[in-house]
Structure formats: structure tokens, C-alpha cells
Subunit: 300 residues, 2 copies
Amino acid sequence: MSLLVIGSLAFDDIETDHGTITDAPGGSALYCAAAASFFSPVILLGVVGDDFPSDELNFLRKRGVDTTNLDIIPGGKTFRWGGRYETDMNKRTTTNLELNVFTGFNPVLASGLEKSEFIFLGNIDPDLQISVLDQAKNARFTGADTIECYIKDKPDRLRSVLKRVDLILINDDEARLITGEHNILTAARSLLKLGPQYAVIKKGEHGSILASADGLFIVPAFPVYTVIDPTGAGDSYAGAMFGYLAKQGEVTPESVRKAVVYGGIVASFTVEDFSLARLKKITNADIEERLAQFRSLTRF
Amino acid sequence: MSLLVIGSLAFDDIETDHGTITDAPGGSALYCAAAASFFSPVILLGVVGDDFPSDELNFLRKRGVDTTNLDIIPGGKTFRWGGRYETDMNKRTTTNLELNVFTGFNPVLASGLEKSEFIFLGNIDPDLQISVLDQAKNARFTGADTIECYIKDKPDRLRSVLKRVDLILINDDEARLITGEHNILTAARSLLKLGPQYAVIKKGEHGSILASADGLFIVPAFPVYTVIDPTGAGDSYAGAMFGYLAKQGEVTPESVRKAVVYGGIVASFTVEDFSLARLKKITNADIEERLAQFRSLTRF
């Protein structure tokens, strides 16, 4: 089954302790689609300017990502984000934000797409997320990410999203901000009360927590000795999770746990280099090898 | 096999978001001995004033802790520590420190004790830890904890301890401070180069990491919804670990992993109340039940 991915494609300008990079292809939908493509066919819905490198889109196409619904605006400039990470990479500052063509982004599900069953909504304006949910009449399993600015600026719209998606996937600080709960387990439970069947809270190097009516699933992060750039880790996590679930074609407590593990594994590759550099070099065999290592690292 | 535990016994005055407590029996050796007693006989070496509550010592004795080597100084005042925890309980400030009878503490292994095979050295002055190691001619498996002040004030003596113990058990910030490595996995590897066969790094609510020549073991924390007081969590962890290993009577990669899991489980009880209050209420069946829950929470 295909996964429909909606979100941003961007140029990222990034500073970390390990170096800087400018004009790095990024954005939630780019990372999400690339990660999901290891598991299932992907349909990408987004917008870029014609300055966005065709090499990058060709890479996605080769990996089975359908880019026919990607809007390429002639003469348009692609969304740009700049960020600086501290030594503690859980902390970052946005140094630049140019919406450019993203200002006019209004995702319309072309004929056929409204039948999509597995959908992931990357961190875009909750109004756009709701618009997609309105159009997707056949959705069987939907997930969404969000970020601090929407939690603060559009709390009511975000609550509408939470009421309608099956899974919310956010980081620990975002979970605390939405729920007002400091304890991350209590925050996860509170998220469930807002609507979704599943809440996944990402804790970076500390792993993640899946909460649902079936209880908790607690999973450490795959150990990475040198994190070059954490940008896109969460989006890759989401992509791998949803790609895996779309491939399975059904969502069970077991398949969601496995999806969470794959999310962490694929994210562990993403952070080992800038942009999609690492994901471009790996194969499914590398992912399976890391999964086997992970089982061994956590077995007792 | 018995476990020999050396460390502090104290009165703690503690403030957390959940309340305050004064004159709470505490100290590294008290928590360590209480936790270890669920697994093996314990011999406790330490010093208190005669102001230390006999109820507390009777509790230990009932649980199989040999207190005949505990020095009770007539007219002496027990070591006192005061601390305040922030909402993020990984952060705490020492608000008071009165060494009292602890000033003259000089652990001497009485006849017979020099044959102890399993020994845990709680966080006391590295000179005292070395003194115990000098006396313990038959030691088969030794472990030590330490704290920031010894890392900063006695780095050379601490390095001597690291060269001689089999296992070092510290928290993430301490590991970074000793090794100068920010990445916690790199810090764990660097600790091994300083001498011990095993390094256990505790990350509080984020679980812990065991590093050895056999590689890594990564384990999440048992989920605790309400942490009342994290004091003694690390000492309970150490006690459960070493109590379990002493009970097994041999140290293998498998038994150390299992010991680490028990460490986390027992610590998860400790933090659910002040002082030993929670440990006084549980039985081995409670520990085994939480272990079974933990397997279920982490299975995929």
C-alpha cells in the first residue's frame, strides 16, 4: 500500500559542532518520503521553487517516490530554514526562516489521492493538516507531527488535528508544551485524551515512548557515536514508521511497536551526516543489520 | 555469597516539587544495603552517631544486613546532607553538608571481611575506596560510585580507583566530567580505557548504558509516573546490581546485563517515596512483577 506524505521541502542552512552546511536539501516531507521509501511506495505532496535540485527529486523517484503531485513553481524560491545546534543537540535556535513558495501552499488531493489510506502529515500549519484530513475520505491510518510555533500560536486548530488523527508524533518538549505535564509518561497519557489512539514521544538520543490504550512501549535509541546533524531525524522516524505500517497494510499493537523501532533505526542513519547524504548510501540490508544489532544491544 | 557495602549513612533534608522532608535516613550505604538485601546477604561498613534511628538499623538487620561492622559513635552526630531538586529532577543543589562523625571514617576490614569477594564502594573519598581495595585481598568483583567533588578535587586518586575496580557506576554528567567526552557512548568507552571492565552510566528517567569489552547494553528506565524523591536511586541501583551478582556468585556478560535491569527496577521503587519508605513496603515478588512488566514494556 502507498503512503501519502504531505509537508515541506526546503533548503537548510545548518551549523553544528561538526561543521556547517548551506543549501542542504531538507524539509519534513523530503526526509519523511526518503525514509518511507525503504518500506513502501510513497506519494509526495508539497511545493518547491524551480531552484530545488532536480538531482534530489530524481533520487526520490528512483526510490519509488511519486513526485507528480509535487508543485514546482516556475521562478519560485524554495522554503528556506536556518538553524544552529548547541553541543547538546536537543537544543537548537532558528537563525533564519524564509517561507517563499511555501506561503501559498494549499495541499489539494488530486483525483485518486483522496482514496489514500495511509497518510502522514509533516509539521505544517494545522489548518493545512485539517484540509488534507477533510479531503482524505478513505483514510485508514493518519499521523501528524507539529512544532512549537503551532502549539503556541494555533492551539485550537492543533487540538482539532489531534481529535482527528490516529497517531501524534512529537518530541518531549512539544509534548510537555501541549499538555502542561512535566512527566513525559503523564504527558503521553494526556495526549491520548486529546484524541489520537497512539502518541509517540521522541526523546532524541534517549529513545522514544509509544503510548496507547494497550499501554506503553519504551524503546532506547540506536547508539550513534557521532551525531553530525540531527535535522530530519524526527521526519525520518515518522517516514520509516508510516512506510512500515503502509507496507504491512494493517495497524496492530505489534506492528506499531515494530514501526517505532524502524523509526529509530532509520533516524539513527539520518543523523550520521547532513541532509539525505547518509540515507542515500544505505540499503534495506543496512537497516535490517542495524535492527539485528539493536535486538542484541537491548536483549537481557 | 555476601556483598560487602561501604559508604555513608546520613540524615537527609530534602526539597522536591512533591514536598520536603527532614532527618530522613539516607546515605549511599544505607540505600545500597537495603536494595542489595533483596538479593543476597549484606555486610555493611560505615559510621553513624548514636542519633541514628535504631528502627532503621533494625529494619536492615531483619532484611539480612549484618550491621556488626557499623561504627556507632557514642555522642556522635550522623553525617547530614541537604538538597533541593528542580522540576527537572536530574538537577539538584546541595543546600547543606555536615560531615560530623563521617570526618573520622576510616574503613577497616575486621577479621574475616578481608576475604570478601563481592564489594561495592559507595561514593566516599577515593582514598578510602583505595584503602578498602588494599585490604580486600580476595576481592573477585568490585564496583565503585563517585561524585562531582571527587572528580574535580581528587582526579588522580579517582583514576587509581578506576584502575583497580571491575565496575564503575556513575551518572551521565559525571561520566562526561571524568572523560571530557560529551557523547555518552564515547564517554562510556573512554571510562573502560581508564581501567574497569564494566562502565555503567545512569541517565535517570532515560535509563542506563552498560559498556564492556562485549559491547554495549542499552536499557530504558522502568516508567515512573510520579517521582517523589530521586535521592538514593543510584545507590539502590548499585545495591540491587551487586546484590544480584553476589547471589549469582559469578559475573558473566549475561549476569551483568540482568543485574543492570534489576538495578533500574529497584531504583524505580526507591524514587516513589522519600528515604527507604518504598523499599520497606515491597517484597521480592513486587520486584519480579515489575521485571515481568518491564519485559512486556520493551518487547518488540
